[in-house]
Symmetry: C2
């Protein structure tokens, strides 16, 4: 079991292997260890240099660091890994968790919003989180200032999960050290990045997909147009989860993001009862959890690589189109894409599109 | 022409003849004069006393009173009568108007809301009315305190119509005398009740159906749950018009009516552009204006009356069901209902239902 974790970690921490590539590799090769051994050859076949694999030593060092901190790893497709999160195409292959893992079994709702929210909105978020907690719903948020902090505070007694953008042992913002520590003890903290990672701007959208992905629905409380909270809402919608927003006066600029969300189809919510009503429907029709790693397809078509390479250009095209145009079996095309990916020559875009990186 | 108006007015001011009965009578008898002569017999056939017809004298007195005030009558199905309003099943057979009748040709939007609205909401309503006016949209409201007054003020320069619950020459609330007079001079005031009528509680829902009925859409700005503004919104929805609401914070009790409307499907609007976008669609697919008085059907089935009477009881039933159960032609059943109605023995309910009044 620990061997499998070492392999997973080595594969995941190897430069150029993101969640989607990780998933493709494990789907092709069945086991992380097999994928790991195949990576150098795949990259060379794709026309690039073999990536510097993460060493066993580095992986073991990370595991012992997490262990020392009192955290543990959750692997996609195994045991306690958050079920709804596992449905995302780019679900994190590994999460680092510290706190009460029982919270992962309960239905969760995300509450997110502006860092500089009004005092009234923060009070509202705290009350909403408290009331949802009373209905045995776990409140998920991002441990940021403003709405996030208020939401965690309101649900601390009943169950709340904070997802951080950096490492599990990094406190950000610094004034939240006490709150993050409290969540490690009485709630749960989750991180995708390795311990010690200082959060950077690019980490926050990844963090947001975890918040939205593990929750039945996301409630946005006071958000400016084009804010991170609206990204979380979009990610929730893309994952087929309920998007909810708390309205405000058109005269209040801080309400514009939420009002626009409602115009775009989000459900207007005013209290916990509204939230519970909104998330009840999708739960009733939820599909059986798919296995994140489908059995590897039979490999086939050694010359698919050249074909796929010819079909690709600098403009993103859907993978489905490549499969159709190439006439090659799905498995062969996916393998060719993997090879190009590992060679650093493929770029993956939103909506399952891919393009070739200029040489 | 004046003769026809006298007949219409006599028919309409006869006790027990409301807008639906009026329409049925004119549909049956083609002309108001013919309907008027038929009323006593119809009532007797229905088993009641002949109603006290409004006299020619009384009708002429009302006409000269309206004339002296500078007003004029608008008859359903003729000339300047508001086209959208004419589509209602219970459209007023006659309206009394004073002011700029050209405003009736333009697209109209209703803005309604609480009498005791916040200063911010009143400022918002005034601004919204002003901006709609800039887009050549006439603003309709009810000349009440609060939101109504603010909406009229905002659109006074571009075109606004006030619908009053009482007589056209009665100022209600009294402090609105100046505003109502301004609308008579620079806008338009409409009334359904005879001149001199002091508005009573029961008049306001009738007034509200005119506001909603003559407008492409109704915008509700700050309304308490179970308020008159929500009745107007419901009437607008029933007439197939766009219902719009301005959101507010859940912490503001005055926003609850509007937020609930949005949850129930009203369009969230934050500005004039949102309103114009919302009303554009229904206008594109608007149907040709129906003639309010269809040609009288051939009368038939003298014994339909007894049949219909047997089928009716104290519980409201749909007219369609009576027609189906009786097996009599539609025209004969409608005639029997008219007779019972004029005899004071029929009660008409919402949704086209009827019941027999206990003897």
């Amino acid at each position: 079991m620990i061997e499998d974790l070492v392999d997973r970690l080595r594969l995941l921490r190897t430069p150029g292997i993101g969640p989607v590539t990780f998933r493709q590799l494990v789907m092709r090769f069945g086991k992380p260890a097999a994928a790991l051994s195949a990576v150098p050859d795949l990259a060379r076949r794709g026309g690039g240099k073999a990536p510097q694999l993460c060493t066993r030593n580095d992986a073991e060092r990370e595991i012992s660091r997490v262990d020392k901190f009192g955290g543990r790893f959750l692997a996609l497709g195994q045991g306690l890994y958050p079920r709804l999160l596992g449905e995302l195409e780019d679900a994190p292959p590994l999460l680092i968790a510290k706190g009460d893992l029982n919270l992962l079994d309960k239905q969760a709702v995300a509450i997110v919003g502006a860092r500089n929210a009004s005092a009234a909105a923060c009070r509202f978020a705290r009350g909403l989180a408290h009331d949802l907690g009373q209905s045995d719903i776990v409140v998920v948020s991002g441990l940021a200032r403003g709405i996030d902090s208020a939401a965690h505070d309101g649900a601390l007694a009943t169950g709340t999960i904070g997802v951080v953008a950096g490492g599990i042992d990094v406190f950000y913002p610094p004034e939240n050290e006490e709150r993050q520590t409290a969540l490690c003890e009485r709630g749960l903290v989750l991180a995708e990045m390795p311990p010690g990672t200082e959060p950077r701007a690019r980490h926050f959208p990844y963090r947001n997909r975890i918040i939205a992905g593990m929750s039945s629905g996301t409630v946005v409380v006071e958000a400016a147009p084009r804010s991170g909270s609206l990204i979380t809402a979009r990610l929730a919608a893309e994952a087929g989860r309920e998007v909810m927003a708390v309205p405000g006066s058109p005269l209040d600029p801080r309400a514009q993001g939420c009002n626009q969300l409602i115009r775009d189809g989000a459900t207007l919510v005013q209290n916990a009862a509204d939230v519970i009503e909104a998330i009840r429907v999708p739960l009733g029709i939820v599909r059986a959890p798919p296995s994140p790693y489908e059995p590897a397809e039979e490999l086939n078509g050694d010359d698919a690589l050249g074909l796929v390479e010819e079909l690709l250009g600098p403009s993103p095209v859907p993978v489905d189109e490549i499969i159709r145009l190439s006439g090659a079996p799905n498995g062969a095309v996916q393998m060719a894409l993997l090879e190009l990916d590992l060679a650093g020559r493929l770029e993956r875009h939103a909506g399952g599109k891919v393009s070739l990186r200029p040489a």
